[in-house]
Amino acid sequence: MRIGTDREACAGAGMCALTAPAVFTQDDDDGRVVVLEREPDGEDAEAARAAVRLCPSRAITLSD
């Protein structure tokens, strides 16, 4: 599984950093998504899937 992000779409709500903190964090300046782990597995992959569902602005995508 590979993570893709769209920083233009990102609203900086922080749902990804809250839900999958090993995979995502936020830019200190503008709060936008920063990927820590591009290809997570195991529990982190599960958390990343939850983060995709929770993202309010559809800024995260997953590909196989």
């Binding site: 900086g12 709500a13 922080g14 936020q26 200190d28 929770l54 309010p56 559809r58």
Partner: protein, 415 residues
């Protein structure tokens, strides 16, 4: 409350009025009519204050679709309002004032939001935890010194978020009575237009003065930081400060008091909460879902073009309101949705903070405040209980932000 005249029952051609009547003895449950609508017609025609016939959404999937769709606008000059009172500068059917970003669409909204999101990140809010814990402990000390009973709203639920947002923004807490009172008038739908505009005017004047003082001596706080960046006019800074100050205390204060009331009325859930530190974060999500305090008249969006939604045609110019209490009790998303279950899987899928690009800017702050404050309260006062019968707790039924007006509690040893 200035209510539209349409009837509240009957799916079909007649538009409904927004259901507002909660069942007697059920202070935590949305009006039962919302459940009926969700089952019968989750996207239904609804009458708005000015006679506009728009829509009401009561199911989770459609709510997410509307709130994330850029074809739906949040601009007040294209939206209709559900109630007569409009607590924002300019009033109904007028464009958003400079800095009033919550009622702008991208890209105007994006520009303001990106100046602010970096100040409310998950990590920054976690760094505030020790300070929020200290503020909470101070309030608990004061309660303990004052006796064995209190009104939890004025002693605990309101001062904690007020103190926190004041420090964060750079607003002197000594002025808290002024902004707490005016804010409460602003969000009460029973306020007359005159009262609402007067409250907004008082707050605007107050914050404009603060912005001018900040210009001469910018501090190490959010307002000082925005001044130092030098991109925003005084009017923009004043409106941004007003939004953050009102949203920063009114909502969390009501969640703290109503959430405590709910925990006290669910003793088994409260016992589980007290027994397990690890439950606190999920408990906060479940309380947000279960209580959905933003309950009347918002959020709304207007279609910028014809949009097919849930098999219906929403025409350009029509306004859609999402009932957050209804969508957060949608059984398709939350099994046994009427039950408070602090260990609920997927509780975080609630839309209590909204959805889409306008999702609450301060949500990570609110989460930290609630997680710390609920736990500290029940740790300090393990025997906390209501000091009056539950039916006598006065509710904020006419406020856009639901909650309790007072919460009389005691921690005296039972006699």
């Amino acid at each position: 409350m200035a209510r539209n005249p349409a009837r509240t029952t009957g799916a079909g051609s007649e538009p409904v009025a927004l259901p507002t009547g909660r069942a007697p003895g059920c202070p935590f449950d949305p009006p039962p009519e919302l459940d009926r609508l969700r089952t019968a017609e989750p996207l239904t025609r609804m009458a708005y204050f000015d006679g506009h016939v728009g829509w009401l959404v009561t199911n989770h999937a459609t709510a997410r679709a509307v709130l994330a769709d850029p074809r739906f606008s949040n601009r007040p000059d294209v939206k209709h309002t559900v109630f007569a009172t409009v607590p924002r500068p300019g009033g109904a059917r007028q464009p958003a004032a400079p800095g009033w970003f919550i009622n702008m669409d991208p890209p105007d909204h994006t520009r303001y939001r990106r100046m602010l999101t970096g100040r409310f990140t998950v990590h920054r809010m976690r760094r505030l935890e020790p300070r929020i814990a200290a503020i909470t402990a101070d309030r608990l000390d004061a309660m303990e010194r004052a006796g064995t009973s209190t009104d939890l709203v004025s002693a605990f639920a309101l001062p904690i978020p007020s103190l926190v947002i004041c420090e964060l923004l750079g607003v002197p807490y000594s002025d808290h009575t002024l902004f707490e009172e005016q804010s409460s008038v602003m969000v009460d739908l029973e306020s007359t237009e005159q009262q609402t505009m007067a409250a907004l005017g008082t707050l605007t004047d107050y914050l404009a003065g603060l912005v001018r003082r900040t210009r001469t001596a910018p501090g190490d706080d959010l307002l000082g930081g925005l001044v130092a960046e030098g991109e925003l006019s005084d009017e923009e800074l004043t409106n941004i400060a007003l939004i953050l100050l009102v949203a920063g205390h009114e909502t969390t204060a009501n969640m703290l008091a109503l959430g405590t009331f709910a925990l006290l009325r669910h003793p088994r859930q409260l016992a589980a909460f007290r027994a397990d530190d690890a439950l606190a974060a999920n408990a906060v999500e479940e309380l947000l879902r279960y209580l959905s305090i933003l309950h009347l008249g918002a959020p709304t969006r207007a279609a910028l073009e014809d949009v097919e939604l849930d098999g219906r045609l929403v025409r350009k110019g029509e306004t859609v309101m999402v009932s957050l209490p209804a969508v957060n009790r949608d059984p398709d998303m939350f099994p046994d949705s009427a039950d408070l279950r602090l260990d609920r899987t997927g509780a975080r899928r609630h839309l209590a903070f909204g959805h889409g690009v306008h999702q609450c800017l301060g949500q990570q702050l609110a989460r930290v405040e609630m997680r710390i404050a609920y736990r500290a309260l029940f740790e300090r006062f393990p025997g906390l209980r209501l000091a009056v019968p539950a039916a006598e707790v006065p509710l904020r039924e006419t406020s856009a932000v639901y909650g309790v007006r007072r919460l009389p509690v005691t921690w005296a040893a039972p006699s």
